[in-house]
Amino acid sequence: MITCQAKVILNREVKPGYYLLRLVSPEIARKALPGQFALLRCSTKDLTDPLLRRPLSFHNVTKEQGEISFLYQVKGKGTKELTRFVPGDTVDTMGPLGKGFQLEPTKGPIAIIAGGVGVAPLVYLACMAHDKGNTVYTFLGARSTESLLADPDLVRASTRFFAATDDGTEGFCGNIIELLHKETNHLATCTAAYICGPEPVMAAAVSLCAKVGIPCQVSLESTMACGVGACLGCTCRTTRSHNYSRVCTEGPVFDGREVILDEKP
């Protein structure tokens, strides 16, 4: 875990409202694992609004070039400010943080299940699994083709790539859960599923995994301040213990059977 002034290589809108940010930080790149995240300062040095750093998952990492990339959705003032950085600027970056995904030691098929920008942390994981020799089934959902984040690296890493859009403008017409129901036969062959997306999507995907009897891991979100387990601000409930768990250190990736998710959309 370090903090550094990471040079911007690229900060480009890949789909309306979604940006790809690539930074140089050899030290973070060397250590970053899929599912871990970084905290980025979105304001310039002396400004106090937005105050807190924003958490973004590693979207992809190239250790050789020492580059880390993030895929982010413009949501509020932090991510909006982030879009203002241009190549040559530096972003104050802290990481790698948190506990990432655990890849199964076997080479069995795995499922990648992503809703919206939830795909961000799963691309790095899919690439790693693919390199390791796993069969990768990817299920990606979005509102519409305009917001379907079918990253080329992800498509390449996927043995089979299933897309769903609510409006049917690309792939299966329906939401990702409907798509999963349709493809249960593929899901059921997997040794594990890796899930990230809006809470209701994750809740439904976790149930489905339980039904078909495969273990799953989910990446949670929570408002964060310190990112290192010091402030106890980011806690969530799990079934693991009576106490709260810190998303920043016990997570952000949790065992799907342990988390307590909000099922309301």
């Binding site: 875990m1 370090i2 903090t3 300062r41 002396d46 106090t48 609004d49 937005p50 105050l51 807190l52 750093r53 104050d92 802290m94 929570s222 408002t223 964060m224 301040a225 310190c226 990112g227 290192v228 387990g229 010091a230 402030c231 106890l232 601000g233 980011c234 806690t235 969530c236 409930r237 009576h242 106490n243 709260y244 250190t249």
Partner: protein
């Protein structure tokens, strides 16, 4: 000119720099360890500790606000015994004074926590948190009435062999009255400010954002309020004052010192810049060098004149 000195003597503690951590923002010290060099700190103040383990409030617990943040952690902590056995031993090997922040639901709980801590080695001082806005019983209520504040202080002093720092709530009409009451009750030092009570409302759900509804406001937004209170309290008491509230640069640390703080606490700023203590030390040294000031203590209260 010879090198200026940041050394500070504070109610029996010797600090190599006036920069302390603010309780609750720095965990038990080690969470930030790879990022923060302890040599840059004068002392570490650990998370509020209670007699029994506390579960804390339900999420959401934090929220960013303009130039600040609200928190309603609710003093989640493992309790004093687990603190002594699991947390403290990991921190004592470092050459760094450890201050234990103490909270309780009743006046009696404060000396009870201290009773446990008295058996432990390696603690430099106690800080009584009589000002936490995020717990229903006790907490802030103790800090808003001079009488109660004094009785908590007296109860702690009666049993403590180590210096007792009392941390004041800013949510009061006259903070000097509370400060003078705890001083008269034997406080060895006074720290201020804890967070200001605030809240935010989710306009879509039409209910308070925080699980606990209300929370405590910290960060740069409260700095002008905290500086004013340090300015007033430091002139009203003789015991040393530890100033805090929104410090995020050497300039703002110096504001508190000029207002009368002998040492300062850094909280929210660690979240933004874990290297803040180093940056402040460097900035203060450069300033002193330039202004020909030998010792930081010469600047304490220098703005009163």
């Amino acid at each position: 000119m010879k090198n200026p000195s940041l050394k500070v003597a504070l109610c029996g503690l010797s600090l190599r720099t006036p920069i302390m951590t603010a309780s609750g923002t720095f965990g038990y010290g080690l969470e930030y360890h790879p990022l923060v060099d302890f040599a840059d700190l004068g002392a570490v103040v650990v998370k509020g500790t209670t007699l029994e383990p506390w579960l804390g409030n339900r999420p959401p617990r934090i929220l960013e606000t303009p130039s600040g943040m609200l928190n309603a952690i609710g003093l989640e902590n493992c309790g004093v015994e687990a603190f002594i056995h699991d947390k403290l031993p990991k921190l004592t090997p470092y050459d760094l004074p450890i201050v234990v922040n103490i909270a309780g639901r009743t006046v009696d709980e404060y000396p009870q926590v201290i009773e446990h801590l008295e058996k432990a080695q390696g603690i430099a001082a106690y800080e009584l948190n009589i000002s936490c806005p995020n717990v229903r019983q006790g907490g802030m209520a103790f800090g808003t009435d001079p009488e109660t504040a004094a009785s908590v202080t007296r109860a702690a002093k009666a049993i403590a062999s180590r210096p007792v720092i009392v941390k004041l709530s800013p949510n009061v009409t006259d903070i000097t009255a509370i400060a003078q009451a705890v001083e008269a009750a034997g406080a060895d030092a006074i720290s201020l400010v804890n967070t200001f009570v605030g809240m935010a409302i989710d306009i879509h759900k039409r209910r308070p954002v925080l699980g606990n509804k209300i929370g405590g406001l910290s960060g740069p937004c409260i700095r002008p309020l905290a500086v004013r209170m340090v300015w007033q309290v430091a002139q009203a008491v003789r015991v040393p004052v530890i100033g805090m509230g929104g410090i995020d640069s050497w300039q703002s640390a110096l504001e508190f010192i000029l207002a009368g703080a002998d040492a300062v606490g850094i909280g929210t700023a660690f979240f933004v810049n874990p290297g803040i203590a180093r940056d402040i030390n460097q900035g203060l040294l450069d300033y002193m060098q330039k202004e020909g000031i030998d010792s930081i203590s010469q600047l304490v209260g220098a703005a009163w004149k």
